[in-house]
Symmetry: C2
Subunit: 238 residues, 2 copies
């Protein structure tokens, strides 16, 4: 403990310059009264604009980050202060999220918050920062955090149940779990080479939030937290 959770190569970035003049981008910029370069790339709005973008299948899905973070930040492990959460993006930024952060549950507000984060470098701008953004590659992040073991989940890994994967991490001081934050495709070689172990938990590709949820839950179970957090009573109101 604590567990370091990294959503890696996440499909989150600002709209790249080569798309600023595309009609769908101009349209969202006008209706939101923003500069194209200050908005997040979002396939649900910019699908056609993304057609000629390199590696397009791994880009433009901030909703994956949002849904996964909603899950992760709401776990008992995080509430107990035993989880550290990082979002590494496809264009090598890292967002560090304070465990006490209450993220917007609404998607549009989440997008607005992340856009503000890219403008300011941290949010909220006044008080102590809850989200911090820096330019950092995944190898740099791993080097900075110094985990004692790194496991990554990929369909190309060794088949193991999540319980088998997470139980060995429980006694460690600072284990790290890496889950892919993109809709299709596989980790880059740079990412897989960082992992001590590559693990496959299902015969089908699973959504990032499903993998994250199960990893965190099995870590809670393996460390005894699940049982420790049960209320000490037998019936209501006692």
């Amino acid at each position: 403990m604590p567990l370091l959770f990294v959503l890696a190569e996440s499909a989150l970035e600002r709209i790249p310059k080569e798309l600023w003049k595309h009609p769908s981008v101009i349209k969202t910029a006008r209706s939101r009264r923003k500069r194209p370069g200050s908005m997040l790339l979002d396939r649900s709005l910019h699908h056609h604009a993304m057609k000629n973008l390199p590696l397009a299948e791994k880009r433009g899905r901030p909703d994956i980050v949002h849904t996964t973070l909603l899950y992760v930040m709401g776990t008992p492990l995080n509430r107990a202060g035993l989880l550290r959460t990082y979002v590494h993006t496809v264009d090598d930024h890292v967002i560090e999220i304070d465990p006490t952060t209450r993220l917007p549950k609404n998607y549009n507000r989440f997008v607005g918050l992340i856009e503000q984060l890219y403008e300011e470098g941290e949010v909220p701008p006044g008080g102590p920062p809850l989200l911090k953004l820096r330019r950092e590659t995944l190898p740099e992040l791993v080097e900075r955090l110094e985990p004692d073991r790194v496991i990554a989940f990929t369909r190309l890994g060794e088949p193991k149940t999540m319980e088998e994967a997470m139980r060995p991490l429980a006694p460690l001081g600072k284990p790290m779990v890496i889950v892919g934050g993109f809709p299709h495709g596989h980790f880059s070689k740079r990412t897989t080479s960082l992992a001590d172990e590559l693990i496959c938990i299902d015969e089908e590709g699973l959504d990032a939030w499903v993998v994250a949820a199960r990893a965190i839950y099995e870590f809670e179970k393996a460390t005894g937290l699940t049982r420790k957090r049960l209320p000490k009573r037998k019936s209501p109101g006692e």
Copy 2:
């Protein structure tokens, strides 16, 4: 098997008549070119309008339904065809979701789909329906589905780990799990009286999607599905 999953008293409804003339409602109606009565109530847009609404703390949160369904529909249990998913709403509608449905990952598209569902009664309008809507109370739904056991999760229930809660359901023919689809408060008496057992899994109130995720996962484990779905190989590409 299968497991019946019910998100109950969910904070999902169309904007009620008494709010149609509120400025924030008129504003969203104009920008979306919709009638106020055909749009979903959403606290992130209609917070001020909701001030005098009865039971407001349990209403106007379609994002809770969206996030929970994203999780539920992506589980191996659902992909294996062993999960039946129902959304019961605070104003007594029931949405039945075909297990093969691929819900919009984007929140705004999800809202549009549910609004269309309320207009048409089922979607998509042409082909075989993936989502069906009917007027139905929770007692009526339970009576129609005839589960052999019903458990509901609430902080007022008996403290048990999720594993202890779900293991006894595995051998049953048609067990039902009820999770609250609202942000604050507790189930109504009408709901709790339907359950054979009320269970509390944590000392704090947890988000609907966290409870749903853990219930489904423990059911998978208890039925042996998790292990059965591991690929039959030892290393990549074999």
